[in-house]
Symmetry: C2
Subunit: 335 residues, 2 copies
């Protein structure tokens, strides 16, 4: 069990890379060049791990949405049905977005608090890529990227953290402020511009220039450490101040998830977040993957599981059924 | 199992009796006369069944409140600490209020739909009483009572019914109207002037003069029959119209009762009422006595169970704990 189990949800490292001599996707209007980029990406994957390769143009709206909901592609790539593509490792711990803002965006995910592991896996793919194509690189600026904020290492290291206590107490605001002064950034679950739903935040480096990869990882790790300690402290405060009212709130949420027959995405997220806090407090036992359950119950993923189209009302019923079943199967129970 | 199990909660018969030659309690100002009435009542009880005898003056406020909550005495008697008293059979299926509006109010309860049984037990006590004291009786008017509406048989036959479907659909209003035109009356759970909380109503005869006891019982029984059939029909409608939304509502209520850590009397009543409907629909299994649970969780009864004084906040916590335990012990479960 991780030290910050129940707080850190996952660690991610993303590397932005471009091929020398080919304009960035936004400026590119050459079908053959787009294809070359795709093919080189897929050829690398063949050397690395079992994978799936998808061109956005060949996927249904639901499929593209489902992959987005699972954090494997960005919202922008999901709608780029002209020349967007993605490589997804079978274990889904690595994906490479192709022809998004940059030619390649290599993204590795670790389901714990280990940026170094994510970095080393992203880096492995990067090395293979560098052996196949000449990457756009300047001795002065480092890797060249479409957006200047990604220049240098082209790296974004981010950690997804679950901070209900700091959110309830409102202390999260001053923490976000401090983090921003350290040139880090705090975002919602679905990246830039998204809200911090489910009391979940992404902490990542703001700039990628002028620091080594190791410095970036160390810096983000250090800040996440401090935030996690603050969350632990605040959870203790919360329990002593709110006491039975908080237990009541958590257990009612658990009662809703295990009994409701109609459940919206928003209510699931709200209740599941409280139940996660309840698990951390030892109030609720659940051996399954509750974060995975939340993702499975997003609209497009739910339709994929159902194997047929469902309208919003039908989804709410099927979501409730899925959640009831999973919570029962996962050895769930109020303690 | 009763035909109207899940609809009829209980049947009650009450007989009002007074001793000839002694003014009605309201007009009486003679300690010795009050004592005579009490003593005669208790002497009868000795001949009838194991019982407890309580003078209101000797009971704490909580004790008097608790007995009231259990429908064994009226709100009026509970506050009459001058000369009010009550005899309660150990099985609590018969109580005799002494020096309430009349000298004696004999009340027998049957936990099902059987007014005849309740009447015959009330009548047994009445016969013993008539052997000990000369009851105020006129050949023309029948039994003489403090309030003219009780003249004649001095009897009120009432059936407590649980009518959620008729309440939800609003059809209860026209039913109440029709019942009133048949010289019957519909009231809330705690008698005259009380609201129909928990979708529960008391149907009883309005007048006791000009009809025999048998006619009154037959009349009330017939009307309750019709109302129960209407409720059964309406439950079917409700299920077909509301479908999963109703199931959701019921199961969320069950989830609240089995998980909440803070529970008010009002929320318990609301949720338990939905769960009772869920039991009738086969959605929830519970082998215990849910109506008994609701009564045990009324404020004064809860304090009696706790064995110590509890303020309102403490009661809400203890109530939630009690309900969780009972529902688990009672082999409860969502089906």
């Amino acid at each position: 069990m991780d030290k910050y189990d129940g707080i850190v949800i996952s660690s991610r490292v993303r590397l932005a890379r471009n091929v020398e001599g080919i304009p960035f996707p936004k400026k590119l209007n050459d079908e053959r060049a787009f294809s070359t980029i795709m093919k080189a990406g897929e050829d690398c994957a063949k050397d690395c791990f079992p994978y799936k390769f998808y061109q956005m143009a060949h996927l249904s709206t639901i499929d593209r949405q489902a992959i987005f909901e699972r954090h494997l592609i960005s919202r922008e790539l999901a709608v780029n049905t002209k020349n967007g593509a993605v490589i997804i490792s079978d274990s889904e711990d690595l994906s490479v977005m192709i022809n998004e803002e940059d030619h390649y965006r290599i993204q590795a995910i670790n389901k714990g608090f280990d940026l170094q592991d994510a970095y080393s896996r992203a880096s492995d793919f990067d090395n293979v890529l560098a052996g196949r194509v000449k990457l756009a690189y300047s001795d002065k600026l480092g890797y060249l990227t479409s957006c200047p904020t990604n220049l240098g290492t082209g790296m974004r290291a981010s950690v997804m953290v679950f901070l209900p206590a700091l959110t309830f107490s409102g202390k999260i605001n001053s923490i976000i402020n401090s983090i921003q002064q350290l040139s880090l950034t705090v975002r919602g679950v679905y990246g830039e511009g998204s809200k911090a739903e489910g009391y979940t935040y992404q902490i990542s480096n703001q700039v990628s220039l002028g620091q080594t990869e190791k410095e970036i990882i160390d810096n983000v790790t250090k800040v996440v450490d401090v935030v996690c300690e603050a969350e632990i402290e605040e959870r203790k405060n919360l329990q002593s101040i709110e006491g039975v009212r908080l237990t009541d709130k958590i257990m009612r949420a658990y009662g809703t998830l295990t009994n409701a027959y109609v459940l919206s995405t928003a209510e699931l997220l709200e209740c599941a977040s409280l139940v996660k806090l309840g698990m951390a407090f030892g109030l609720v036992r659940f051996d399954g993957d509750i974060n995975g359950l939340i993702i499975s119950c997003q609209p497009a993923n739910l339709i994929k599981i159902a194997g047929k189209n469902l309208n919003a009302d039908e989804r709410d019923v099927f979501r409730a059924e899925t959640v009831r079943k999973v919570l029962k199967k996962g050895n769930g129970g109020n303690v």
